[in-house]
Amino acid sequence: MSSKKTSTPSSAPSSSRKFPACTVYAVGFVLLTIFCTIVYGEVFSQIAAENFVCSDAEAMTFVRRMPLGMVYWAARYVLLVFLNKWVGGVLMALVLTLSAWFFDRALARPFNCVRLLRGIGFLPVVALLSWMVHRGYNLYFRCEVSTFVIWTLALFFLSILFAVAGHFLSRRKSSSAAVPAGLCRLPLFALLALAAYGGLTWQALVKGENVRLACAMQNRVAEGDWESVAELGRSAYNPTRSVAAYYAIALLQQNQLLEHIFDIPFNYPKLQLDFNGGDDEGVNYIADCNFFAGLPNSAYRVSMENLVVVGPRVNIYKRMALCALLNDEQELAHRYLHLVSKMPFQQAFVERFLPLVGHVDQLVKDPVFANIHGLYPMDEMMEQHCRQPVFLGYNAIMMRGSDASLVTSVATAMYSKSMDNLLMRIGVLSQKQSLPLSVQQAILIASLRRPQLLEAYPQVRDNSMLVSEFRRFSQDIAPLVAPPGSDDETKRASYRRIADELRAEWLGTYYYYYYSGNIDQTVSKSEQHGVN
């Protein structure tokens, strides 16, 4: 029996044939696809949903005036692929996998140790994705929406450059192995990249939870899938204002606002947002909240301000078109629908709403718009009379409205813990409907300082289960409450303890929210409005 000897200076054992080179890249591609679609795909597709691009130079003036404006313009076209998260995610995974392959080529050849270094190219890829996750809301809030596309393509072209450089470099180096043969057999960097991928996924799922949820919720809002929006909101461990806002919008659309609004905790995490004419999170949700709260003028105003600051975005144009539709501003609605129609893949929106211009009666047959219309203010008022944001400030002070707006004003009073305001509105609510559980819980809290209050609400006074539940809560909270006369910091610390220790048992009750929610609540006063 004879065998042919075939060997190269760094030949791998026969077991390597069981795992051909492409395995690393195939696995990498699959994992990247999972990340770019399932794990973080909603973020990319929400950014794409914000994107505005068209071929008309006039409509793209804002973008063109920016440094690198022409690059942004081109990149915004590439961003279109993410309108479908599967298409965009797969393409992005493909580009990133190719980048990894090029990086591998760049490094493996000069060092002549392919197996060891195979997969090292995934490290910069994972690093880039990790940066994107780290950026969080800053990936699109007040910055150019095509940023992540540009960086992905930049990495790709950089990898090609590296590969070309590596090719020329490998010709000059000797062919002798620079690394011990034993070490060469280990797919060390592939394993390292795999571990990094695990860290990336953890980062996205845990650290980036709110960003993923907010984007997924906004995508579901666009689809009118309120059930999913609400479920996503409830899944947040420590929701941001964006998540809480869209959760509230979904409950409002489902007529379950008072029943479930306090199912989520309301202690917003501090965000590190880029400053670009402002750094508040409101740029993401206030316009929508005003819109769904039946305040199209205020929604239009905030949308216009956002347009000025961040430039053209199709979701802004869509919202402004809908505000104009609701206000029966026909030519204005035409203007915005015309703009939307200039962008690829937006015809469905235009075709849906163009026939409704000038037909508000038809528009409000849609349940969503019927809900909004049902919240319209009955009294003329200036925003300056309300605290900001207007959707809260208006509901806090309005004295005349529909039954639907009574619910929103009760919810606002509960959210802002204004007990006197709340009790006044509950008195009216109780005449129109049975009081939701959260409202009854609020009455019990209010009765602590107003003992006669319960006489007016026998349905609460005589509800023995509710009363005993409140008693139990009082016993649980008693050891955690700061003693009277404590300074603010001590009080805050006690609120945080209450929030942490009572969460498992009491989250979902108004008691829990009242005594531990919105610890850092500040409702900004309406500021002096200057003229530009």
């Binding site: 440094p67 105003r301 347009l307 000025v308 003329e380 300056q384 409005h529 003229v531």
Partner: protein, 523 residues
């Protein structure tokens, strides 16, 4: 950076041209009663003989369109065609020749639509070409019709005989801490003939930029004796003097009303600035009277302005000072915004002594439940053009505002002012009409209008004939008529000029950014 969009535009234009049908009047067509749905609305307007081509879109059904323009005198003809996009783009040279031949007479416009395999001939309409030319330059600010925030904006100069538009000055393109600024109120003296002009900078690098020819300088117009910053300017027609209003302004946003914004003054006075001597002084400074919108007569012997008496301003306790006082004043005016009305006033002026007379009432608009703003006198001194609405002073946000004209000659001959004014019925629309200026020959008026959609202000030009009659206005023509629908900015403060701005954007930028070189006005 500018080459690429120009290249792209040219490429698209070439491609579009390739897709157009031949510019030939259809031999067979069917006459229909249906008027051609054109945008902008250029039907039956009077135009200057030196205006840029009135390119337009046909928005009706059809896969091809032809437009035939024929001068009624001489028969000169211009034919243009459009594909499915409906854009009729007129050859500039041919257009100029057409206007030349039709000067002082009419052009008949015939539009044909190709629909369902046949050509339809829509009812013709007319363009009347006036004898009098229009000033060749128009400056304006482009800014979103926003509420408080600003980012990218600029002052631009448009050549009305063509389509060239270039920036006089643009502010920072991106947010820049310490460099964010707004600009406004570009106003030339005497239609640019003297080379003097100015505009304001607000925010970072705030002040007023004065330009003389190619030079530019920034001044700090605030002084201890004046109410605040200099705002609305009025150049003396001959001397290097400017009367400004000095205003304290606030605004409020309607939650439900269609007039979405209410901009109010809670204090305003008139100030006089001597450019050569850098001296500022008060013309009218009163606690309860709000004086604003100054304008000179063409001979420089009279100053017109608007004034509102707001008694509550005089009843605030003296203990309220500073920001608290401002807030209280602002709240007081906002709470009564529907009762704030301005009248037209006048002051005689002696240019030798530089003294103003006591104010006299010209038109008591509040008595008519109206409020007047922005008076402008025609170059021949006969007509006073102004805006009037139901209340207030920032009429660009009031649907009720329209243009009016007063015959000052008739007033001088003894007619009561209240009987000597009338609306510009042909020029006005159901929507907002506001800021307006006369051309240097007094035959053209440019004004801001929101008639297109109620939100985005566009400049409209109307002819004002020697009989004092206004005519149907036309929208500022654009090379691509669709641009009016895609431009997401409003046009503010359109001002005619006979010559271009002398200072370059770079010179102006240096003046804006050089904080060390700012001069302060003297009292």
């Amino acid at each position: 950076m500018k080459a690429y969009p120009i290249f792209l535009t040219l490429l698209i234009a070439l491609l579009a041209q390739a897709c157009r049908p031949d510019a030939v009047v259809p031999a067979d067509s069917v006459a229909v009663d249906e008027a051609a749905n054109i945008y902008p609305e250029y039907r039956d307007v009077v135009i200057p003989p030196n205006i840029a081509p009135l390119n337009f879109m046909v928005r009706g059904e059809g896969d091809a369109f032809v437009c035939q323009l024929t001068a009624k005198r001489g028969g000169q003809e211009l034919v243009a065609a459009a594909g499915e996009d409906g854009k009729i783009l007129l050859d500039t040279l041919a257009w100029r020749e057409l206007l030349l031949s039709a000067r002082g007479s009419d052009i008949e416009v015939n539009v044909y639509s190709h629909r369902d395999g046949r050509w339809l001939h829509h009812p013709p309409y007319t363009l009347t070409v006036a004898e009098e030319e229009i000033d060749p330059y128009l400056t304006y600010r482009l800014i979103e019709p926003s509420y408080e925030l600003y980012r990218q904006l600029g002052i631009y100069e448009r050549n009305l005989t063509g389509f060239d538009e270039h920036p006089v000055y643009e502010n920072n393109d991106v947010y820049a801490e310490g460099d964010n600024h707004c600009i406004n109120c570009h106003t030339p003296q005497q239609y640019g003939k003297t080379g003097l002009s100015l505009f304001h900078v607000r925010g970072d690098h705030g002040g007023t930029i004065f330009m003389k020819g190619s030079q530019a300088e920034r001044l700090n117009m605030k002084s201890d004796s004046t109410l605040g910053n200099a705002v609305y300017p009025a150049w003396h027609p001959e001397k290097p003097w400017v009367v400004f209003s000095s205003n304290k302004t606030g605004q409020a946003f309607h939650i439900a009303q269609s007039d979405k914004v209410e901009v109010i003054d809670y204090g305003s006075d008139l100030i006089f600035y001597d450019v050569e001597n850098n001296k500022i002084s008060n013309v009218l400074k009163t606690p309860v009277e709000m004086e604003t919108f100054p304008t000179w007569s063409p001979d420089g012997n009279r100053l017109y302005y608007c004034s509102c008496t707001f008694a509550p301003l005089g009843h605030l306790p003296d203990t309220l000072q500073g920001t608290s006082r401002d807030l209280a004043c602002s709240d007081s005016v906002i709470a009564n915004y529907r009762n704030v009305r301005y009248r037209l006033m006048q002051l005689d002026f002696d240019s030798q002594t530089r003294r103003f007379s006591a104010p006299t009432l010209l038109l008591d608009c509040p008595a008519m439940q109206k409020s007047a703003t922005l008076p402008r006198v025609s170059p021949d001194g006969r007509w006073l053009l102004f805006t009037m609405g139901d209340y207030g002073q920032f009429h660009i946000w009031h649907h009720s505002s329209d243009l009016y004209v007063m015959d000052l000659q008739a007033v001088g001959e003894g007619r009561q002012p209240a009987e000597a004014f009338r609306p510009l019925s042909a020029a006005n629309s159901d929507n907002v009409e506001s800021y307006h200026t006369w051309s240097s020959n007094g035959r053209w008026i440019v004004f801001s209008s929101r008639r297109d959609d109620g939100s985005y202000t566009r400049p409209y030009i109307c002819y004002f004939d020697t009989q004092g009659q206004d005519h149907k206005p036309f929208l500022l023509p654009q090379q691509d008529p669709e641009q009016n629908l895609l431009r997401m900015k409003s046009y503010n403060i359109p001002e005619f000029s006979c010559s271009p701005v002398g200072a370059t954007p770079e010179t102006i930028r240096r003046a804006v950014y050089d904080d060390d070189a700012v001069r302060r006005v003297q009292e």
